[in-house]
Symmetry: C2
Subunit: 200 residues, 2 copies
Amino acid sequence: MGRRKVEIKRIEDKNSRQVTFSKRRSGLIKKARELSVLCDVEIALVVFSSRGRLYEFSSGDSLVKLLGRYSGHYEQEPEASKYYNKAVLSFAEVLHIVQSQLEESTIEQLSLRDLEKLEIQLAATLSGTRARKSQLVRETILTRQEKEKLLKAENEGLEREIAEMEKNEDCRREMAIALMSNTENSGHLRQSQTLMLLPP
Amino acid sequence: MGRRKVEIKRIEDKNSRQVTFSKRRSGLIKKARELSVLCDVEIALVVFSSRGRLYEFSSGDSLVKLLGRYSGHYEQEPEASKYYNKAVLSFAEVLHIVQSQLEESTIEQLSLRDLEKLEIQLAATLSGTRARKSQLVRETILTRQEKEKLLKAENEGLEREIAEMEKNEDCRREMAIALMSNTENSGHLRQSQTLMLLPP
DNA sequence: TAATCTATGTATAAGTA
DNA sequence: TTACTTATACATAGATT
């Protein structure tokens, strides 16, 4: 698709590799966008350059925002945009689940909401761990005293998150119990019963 | 790029939308593969069809295997291939981190290994939660007794995972302590000291 | 449905600025 | 760099089986 045919193998010349990367990357993202619009499908495309830069295209912005709510602490970070990209990736992961949920019957959909929340919370925890790792890297240029303080805070945060997860586990167990007792009556969940998943 | 120019908007005719989806999807994946080879970059591409089917391309197979080791329980699942795709997505998430790590100095790289493990474990836990959710959906067609058995097993699994995470937290704390005491001596970590992160 | 064909529109490799 | 230009190669829309 140019003056001459190119063999598909690593371009050795650094300069033309960079030029080709730039051109083909934008072409790829354009085509991804076209496909998502023409065929009304969700697409997540991520390109990691060899320099570590990240380029991405992702349809379905509304769900990005949803996830953003659960990883709001990134907005406090100085390098917010860097973490935003990670959130988009998490979104891509979650998307498949959400998608399949939409295809379940309404009844099953409702009964799965709490599990979805747990899922998103887990994703947020995962992102949080990454954020702490980056922080740990930065720490290596700080004084020992500063390190002590930061690590202490990190450990406390981690403990809180684990406690949070345990709480979620409780929710899940209650949900399971609710599910069982619901099906005892009818064999199916009714919408009104969904509100009873958590005790008053 | 056909007999006539097409406007980039949702194709209303269901049939030609499906045909276009099939054609352009394979074209997009081909181009993603070409870009990753030509320019030696990592690419993750995921397409979710409106029917919930998932198509993906991802360079960097060796790391997929790495992640596979941490989410080995998927191999016990009957629909293993379905979950494999999810693992690939997790890989895409982890990839960015691994990539940035490769750009840190060797010293920092080594000190971050345990944190990376924690991260991957978290990703596996997240995937595990998803698997359980799918299972919960399938359960709704089973008898109450069968449900009871399955849920019990699930809860036990979840408990084990939380215990695992707490163990990881311990590792992390020890690592942090080791990091501090290492820097007390030299201000830098030495490779040989990395082996001391866990107690004998 | 799913392949194959083919006219045409697009992407892009080099060249140029 | 970064952006144009242009000749070609490639992708694909619609038609045909």
